[in-house]
């Protein structure tokens, strides 16, 4: 079984940089790293294929960035397809999905496409479903457990109340929620091997996508305003006069959490 995993490379959240005042999008000039959200998809894919298949990474990122891909290759993915093109600057979620769908077409035979539920920087949470629509494949979201049996994939799909058991035919696009598996550390051997694993670098033309339909030119979405997040309100401090537990119980039941 072969699995394609969409991995986004993002600015290091520990040093997130700044928004471009003009376009109101995140500046992505510096080094990008593997989005932690995608490390779960990579781990899940590696567990699913085991020794009997390959994991291929697909990513769209500026400036031929491969740092985040190398991290996932060191974990054990076999190869990667990277789409990088100046004409992609300004691409919205749908363009991103079209580009990724086309790149998946260059990733060889596959049975399953995994992505994260939402990225850490953009978190629109729509790209995986858009990819599925573009590819004409079934889409399952919020997966907390995934298993494959012959031609079908079985997914435990997280809901507010618990989870649904969903099955659907392969190939399919499944987006996984964060924290559902423990991403492995890259081994020393994996790190050494990552450098020589193939990364296929493609431009828009290689995917048959017109520049006029991508980037700023093709964006159907526009960021009209950026507002500062509201300051967090100071917490309420309850001094323990022997009755603190009752006040805490009241507080929590007001919130309807107990």
């Amino acid at each position: 079984m072969n699995i394609v995993v969409c991995v986004k490379q993002i600015p290091d959240p520990a040093d997130p940089g700044a928004l471009d005042p003009e376009s109101k999008t995140l500046k992505r000039d510096g080094k990008l790293i593997l989005d932690e959200s995608d490390s779960y998809g990579v781990e899940m894919a590696l567990q699913l294929v085991g020794d009997s298949g390959e994991v291929t990474l697909v990513s769209m990122a500026p400036n031929g960035e491969v740092s985040g891909l190398r991290t996932a290759l060191a974990m054990g993915a076999a190869k990667a397809v990277l789409v990088s093109d100046d004409a992609l600057k300004g691409s919205d979620a749908l363009t991103t999905a079209k580009v990724l769908a086309a790149a998946i077409g260059k990733a060889g035979e596959y049975d399953l496409v995994l992505a994260a539920t939402e990225s850490s920087d953009g978190y629109t949470g729509v790209v995986p479903e858009q990819i599925a629509a573009v590819l004409g494949l079934p889409s399952v979201t919020f997966a907390k457990a995934v298993s494959v049996d012959g031609g079908t994939v079985k997914v435990d799909r997280q809901t507010e109340a618990g989870y649904d058991e969903v099955t659907c035919p392969l190939p399919a696009v499944v987006s996984v929620t964060a924290g559902v598996v423990e991403p492995r550390y890259p081994s020393f051997k994996g790190i050494m091997a990552a450098k020589s694993k193939p990364v296929d670098q493609l431009a828009l033309a290689d995917l048959g996508i017109e520049a006029a339909n991508a980037g700023w030119a093709g964006a159907g979405q526009e960021i009209v305003e950026v507002a500062a997040a509201a300051q967090r309100e100071a917490g309420e401090i309850i001094e323990d006069d022997g009755e603190a537990h009752a006040k805490i119980v009241d507080f929590l039941s007001n919130l309807k959490v107990i």
Binding site: S67, R70, T71, A74, Y185, P186, S187, F188, K189, G190, I191, M192, A194, K195
Partner: protein, 407 residues
Amino acid sequence: MYEWSDEHLMLQQAMRDFVAKEILPIKEELEHGDLPPYDVLRKLYSTFGMDEMARSTFAKRIAHEKAVAAGEPVEEKPSRHGGGDAGYTLIPIIELCRHCPGMVTAMGVSVGLTASAIQAKGTIAQKERWVPELLTLEKVGAWAITEPNSGSDAFGSMLSTARRDGDEYVLNGSKTFITNGPYADTIVFIAKLDEGNDPKDRKVLSFVLDRGMPGLEQPKPLRKMGMHSSPTGELFLTDVRVGRDRLIGETEEVSKGGRDGAKATFQQERAGVAAMSLGIIEQCLELCVQYAKERVQFGQRIGDFQLIQQKLAKMEVARMNVQNLVFRTIELSRAGKSMTFAEASAMKLYSAQVATEVALEAVQLHGGNGYMAEFQVEQLARDAKVLQIYAGTDEIQTVAIARALLA
């Protein structure tokens, strides 16, 4: 090499993640309790496949030695370091030293000193018997030369003895300050062959002992100033009987009376000290920069005071210099070369001194907080000091450098 490569940085990040997840939660027990560091070190080894890699590197090197012994044509001897890159050995040292330098001492003595002593002078059978499990940390190793009355003058005043008795040797003596002594499974014990001759003419022989041998005592750890995540202890030997198979090299015909085997071991230790120093310096500098930005006195950040700025600038100079020494070590090993004994001494002397200086200045920069155990610089200052004492004191390094200059 003028900067870490992308692979080095990936390794560094992975180590940081491991330290944050596996070591920091138990740091209190490692540094202030009695939790020995071996289990978490083994976890480090298995998580990153360091054990598997050590096993395969050993297998390649031993196959090479067997081919040489059989007179078969051979290629260059495979490197000790995984993938031929010493960075893979040194980066874990640097990253662990930011938090628990003692763990590096415990690890280094086991996989470095003890395994190397057997690997350098042992027979092929001895290597196969003891080295793989030391390299993977399945077995804990100790290397014992220091005695209560013999430290810097390790060979001159050594009192431990080996006496022949039929086909066997009878070993007696006490060792002290032995890293991993209390927990070691495999011990390299260094003694003088007593043939009734003048002690200063006696040959120095090394023997491999196993935990639990009759007559071998391994008392509990000594209390010390720092490096608490590295257990240090004494060893007492009373008429411990060993066969020739435990005499390293299985021969009494040791070159330079056995004094050069130990010397080669010292040298390797010295490169490790530079990497340890770098970890301590990097961590101190980061903590100090942060504190200098946050701590306010006289209405300004203390970082605005020139005397504080000077401390930070000196720490940065130390960091750059020691990092360059580490880079040089990596480059030399990549080129298949090694430092001269005097150069290794100079590197050890300088790194140990600046690490201690930086750590003490880090305490100073933190004021009263710096003296409190709650702040990490307090621990690093205690830990750094030993770098000037073990693996050859500052004074002994100085003598070695001067001797080479004046030769």
